[in-house]
């Protein structure tokens, strides 16, 4: 997978997280996975279709999701209730929105699906025929993994 697809997502994630959480955000080491990977507990998935197709997954532990949602709402959220889910989905929305703008500027045309949020333990995600690039993002609350698996349409 070409790295130019992932950079806009990473940049957008940095911009948006910095703005909504008001803290410094650190980037971890980028890695590549071609087989199944565990999902950390709360995952937001956004599909891409058009010149490039695939999906982006924002993956984090439940505690991290709750800490981020609490911070964004300015109140303590103790469970992944509807508000916490809506908050994390909105975060994914803002990040993908900004990334897509950058990719459009680079000349790629495609559409996004609305974010879907998946929660639970012991989950795995598998990609057939497309590698996943993963960029961990370090926050005060913990880590978010941005997991991008896209390819150019044949």
């Amino acid at each position: 997978m070409r790295v130019e697809y992932i950079n806009p997502f990473v940049e957008a994630a940095f911009n948006v997280l910095r703005e909504v959480l008001n803290e410094e955000v650190k980037r971890g080491e980028l890695f590549l996975k071609s087989t199944s990977q565990p999902v950390l507990g709360v995952a937001v998935i956004v599909g891409l279709t058009g010149d490039v197709e695939g999906r982006v997954l924002f993956d984090m532990k439940k505690e991290v999701a709750l800490a981020i949602a609490s911070q964004m709402n300015g109140e303590e959220l103790a469970t992944m209730d509807d508000l916490a889910k809506a908050t994390i989905s909105e975060l994914a929305n803002m990040i993908t929105g900004q990334a897509v703008t950058k990719l459009h500027d680079l000349g790629f045309k495609f559409d996004l699906t609305p974010p879907a949020i998946i929660t639970g333990e012991n989950m795995e995600v598998s990609n057939t025929g497309v590698e996943a690039l993963i960029v961990p993002v370090e926050l005060q609350a913990g880590k978010i993994e941005i997991n991008v698996a896209v390819r150019e349409r044949a």
Binding site: V16, E19, G74, L83, A86, S89, M94
Partner: protein, 144 residues
């Protein structure tokens, strides 16, 4: 003896959400995200606006507007929503009331739709993430 009324305070500012008449501006929020609705609600109520209704899709938004009319001063309209998107809802609201003041709420990446909305007659737009100063500034601009 002088009463307090003889000393108009220069420090007291009328909250943005209060009209000259002393009444609150009445706002309808149309957004499918509970988080965004809550955020707009908090920002606006803290400045004295009154939230008179909310809707979670465009069709419901149009219906609510008709129901509330003429007791509504401003609509905040999300662009991407299920059933009926914000641009179509804007069109329908303007068909019903050409004086309607609608402000679009958009994620980045929807420039074409924002442009289209402004051509149709939206008063202004706000790009998410929403921050208090930006929201109030854009809303006050569209109320003037």
């Amino acid at each position: 003896m002088k009463t307090k009324a003889d000393f108009p305070s220069i420090n007291e500012r009328r909250p943005d959400g209060i009209k000259e008449s002393g009444d609150s501006y009445r706002v309808l929020i149309v957004d499918d995200s509970m988080f965004v609705t809550k955020q707009i609600n908090q920002i606006l109520t803290s400045e004295g606006f009154e939230i008179v209704g909310s809707a979670t899709d465009g069709a419901q938004g149009v219906e609510k507007y008709k129901e509330l009319y003429p007791n509504v001063d401003l609509v905040t309209m999300d662009i991407t929503m299920p059933k009926m998107d914000g641009v179509s809802a804007l069109e329908k609201i303007l068909e019903f009331d050409k004086e309607a003041r609608v402000i679009m709420i958009s994620a980045l990446g929807k420039q074409d739709l924002v442009k289209k909305s402004l051509m149709i007659g939206a008063k202004n737009y706000i790009v998410k993430p929403l921050d208090r100063a930006k929201v109030l500034e854009r809303i006050m601009m569209s109320l003037q």
